[in-house]
């Protein structure tokens, strides 16, 4: 009898010890204050913020890094204006096109397809339907209209401005227009010269805002 009590109690202890290692909870930490920083971390929950939410909208009117204000309004008229007037400031070079292709594969190909024919994985799997090919005649896209739609979104398509920068959108834009030409059976455009002033202005503006990049370049020159 005595023995069985001992066995049962030790079994209960074992179960208690094992059940402490629950996958729903974090493990013990030696110095928890090194895990729970005093500084505010991205997506943290802190009392100083409204709703305790660290992730807040920027102040109205502020300009994000890597962006310049976009002047066309999010309306049908704005779309038509952008379609007619807006052009790609980033030069059409091989490097830029490849960079654009990489970004296109991440963000666009899942719906629009690797060839821009509207047959991406999500369309093939019948998750999202009615994705037009880039050479759709009713839409007759231009560089300006593509940028406008990527920036604001249109109908079912959402805005991609939060996932990219202005320059990245223009890089994707080059690749999209390339795909459209391919679908239309047109020859590829000739690559432009690297040193276009507009591109430099964009890059400079990005470097001015990106401290990390400037610092790394300084370090390089010191070496």
């Amino acid at each position: 009898m005595k023995n069985s009590i001992k066995i049962v109690s030790s079994l209960v202890m074992l179960v208690l010890i094992v059940s402490c290692q629950d996958k729903d909870y974090r493990n013990y930490e030696y110095m928890p204050n090194m895990y729970e920083e005093i500084s505010y971390e991205a997506y943290g929950k802190y009392d100083v913020f409204p709703n305790q939410m660290e992730a807040m909208h920027p102040v109205e009117g502020s300009v994000s890094r890597g962006w310049m204000p976009y002047e066309y309004p999010n309306s049908t008229e704005g779309y038509q204006e952008a379609k007619a007037n807006l052009t790609n400031p980033v030069p059409y070079t091989e490097d830029n096109l490849n960079e654009g292709k990489g970004l296109y594969t991440i963000y666009c190909a899942i719906c629009h397809g690797d060839k821009g024919d509207g047959k991406g994985t999500l369309a093939e799997r019948e998750k999202i339907l009615g994705i037009p090919a880039y050479n759709d005649q009713g839409r007759a896209i231009t560089a300006g209209s593509v940028y406008h739609v990527m920036y604001y979104g249109l109908n079912t398509m959402g805005s991609y401005a939060t996932q990219t920068t202005e320059r990245e959108l223009w890089l994707i834009n080059h690749y999209v227009m390339d795909l459209k030409d391919a679908l239309d059976g047109k020859p590829k455009r000739a690559f432009e010269d690297e040193t276009t002033t507009q591109e430099e202005a964009l890059v400079e503006q990005e470097e001015m805002t990106d401290e990390g990049q400037v610092m790394s370049e300084e370090a390089q020159t010191e070496e």
């Binding site: 493990n27 090194m34 895990y35 997506y43 999500l122 009713g138 109908n155 079912t156 959402g158 939060t162």
Partner: protein, 450 residues
């Protein structure tokens, strides 16, 4: 004694009947299931038969998916109105004109056309001059397809059939267990009866003689005590070391998230790039959790998951369509999306995702450095995320784990002019062509701790 025997046989009889009843009932269940499945299948067949009237619904479906489905659904409002039975609401001639060139129709002052244009906040529909009247007839035939009955009953029957198999096997196991228990009981009873017989007959039973207890013998043997103490100490030290080394390691941490987001469906089945949602992993220290507008890029049009009848369904027995649909509704609630009007209400609420991977403050880790520059696959550190129904921490994230990878991984130097000079010097120094991260200084304390 007699009574006991009787009672025993009676209980045995009742157990056997119970077992028989149970095994029989499983057959009955199975039969019911099969008929239910057949019924449901028949119903589904009759419903999917095309209700074609002056147009080929199958061809219409292809045209609809290619041209209309971006903005229209059959039974729900999307960017444009739901199109089921649109032929009953509108005149066919009017529909031809509207679909081919709705702008012309509006400009001609047609009141119906202007009304619908204003109702849908003046978002102009595309013009489709390429569609012939026959094409439009096909599309309209397709829009008249009635909504298929929810396949839930058929689904349940299928599930029930599967479960029926499971039930019968558990019943078999239960019967086996009962038989075993009965055998043990019978043995015990027989033993008891025999003992009683022996007592009654006056047969002497062997009596256990008391011996020296084993622990006393053990204590008296000092060498054995010494050896076992050493073994116990060493073993204790081993386990204590093992336990202390895992303090602070959260490998396998799998918290319950406020919205059940399945990486298996998104990254696995639908092959969405990791960086589509975690876009800041390309350019920032953090691989950010996507804000909900990124979810809505797709979920604006995907309000429910495909059910089990679809070829592209991702539902399982544990995670049903109802379960996933409820999670999408949670997203809509958080982001303030009104499905009825297809617009944002502006009433949002934060989703408090539970952070899984967390490095202490004294260690610096930069995602963009590893993802964009080194080109390390996300799965190298995060494991087979595309198979995870619930996200968990795959790697231990200990320093030893970091160092190990830095020792084994070669730095990607191709096409990166930044490394040209240092590669030349270091490969001369070490006499190797390929440099590991460790040889580049990836083991220096100050690289990660400062």
């Amino acid at each position: 004694m007699k009574q006991g025997k009787n009672l025993n046989s009676a209980s045995r009889f009742s157990l056997i009947t119970l077992a028989l009843l149970l095994s029989f009932s499983s057959y009955v269940f199975a039969q019911e299931d099969s008929t239910a499945t057949a019924d449901a299948a028949g119903a589904a067949e009759s419903e999917t038969s095309p209700a074609a009237q002056g147009g080929d619904a199958a061809a219409g479906k292809a045209l609809f998916n290619a041209n209309c489905a971006a903005c229209h659904k059959l039974y729900d409002r999307a960017t444009g109105p739901a199109l089921y039975n649109v032929t009953e609401r509108r005149d066919r001639e009017w529909l031809y004109r509207w679909i081919k060139n709705n702008k012309e129709l509006r400009d001609s002052g047609d009141p119906e056309a202007i009304a619908i244009y204003n109702e849908y906040s003046q978002k102009a529909m595309n013009i489709f001059p390429q569609l012939s009247n026959a094409d439009i007839d096909d599309i309209l035939a397709y829009t008249n397809t009635p909504k298929p009955e929810p396949v839930a009953p058929a689904d349940q029957a299928g599930g029930g059939g599967g479960a029926g198999g499971g039930v019968s096997s558990t019943i078999i196991l239960a019967i086996l267990a009962i038989v075993l228990v009965m055998l043990v009981a019978v043995l015990f009873l027989v033993n008891n009866t025999l003992r009683k017989f022996a007592v009654a007959q006056g047969v002497e039973l062997p009596v256990k003689e008391s011996r020296k207890p084993i622990w006393k013998t053990f204590v008296e043997n000092q060498f054995l005590v010494l050896v076992s103490v050493i073994v116990l100490l060493l073993g204790g030290a081993y386990f204590a070391y093992g336990w202390m080394m895992q303090v602070g390691v959260d490998q396998g941490y799998e918290p319950i998230q406020p919205i059940h987001y399945s990486h298996r469906i998104h990254a696995g089945d639908n092959q969405i790039e990791c960086k589509y949602c975690h876009s800041s992993a390309r350019t920032s220290k953090h691989s950010g959790i996507p804000s909900l507008n990124v979810c809505m890029n797709c979920h604006k049009s995907i309000s429910e998951v495909a059910d089990a009848t679809s070829d592209y369904s991702s539902v399982t027995e544990d995670y049903t369509k109802e379960f996933y649909d409820k999670e999408i509704q949670k997203l809509y609630k958080a982001v303030g999306w009104d499905q009825a009007t297809q617009s944002y209400t502006g009433e949002t609420q934060a989703v408090e995702w539970v952070r899984i991977h967390n490095l202490p403050d004294f260690a610096y880790f930069n995602h963009s450095q590893h993802v964009s520059v080194a080109g390390v696959q996300c799965q190298t550190c995060h494991g087979p995320v595309e198979e995870m129904e619930v996200m968990y921490q795959y790697a231990p994230l200990t320093m030893g784990w970091c160092i190990n990878c830095h020792r084994e991984t070669n730095v990607k130097m191709d096409g990166n002019p930044y490394y040209e000079k240092i590669h030349e010097e270091l490969s001369k120094k070490y006499g190797v062509e390929e440099l590991t991260a460790a040889q580049m200084g990836g083991l220096e304390c100050g690289k990660c701790h400062y």
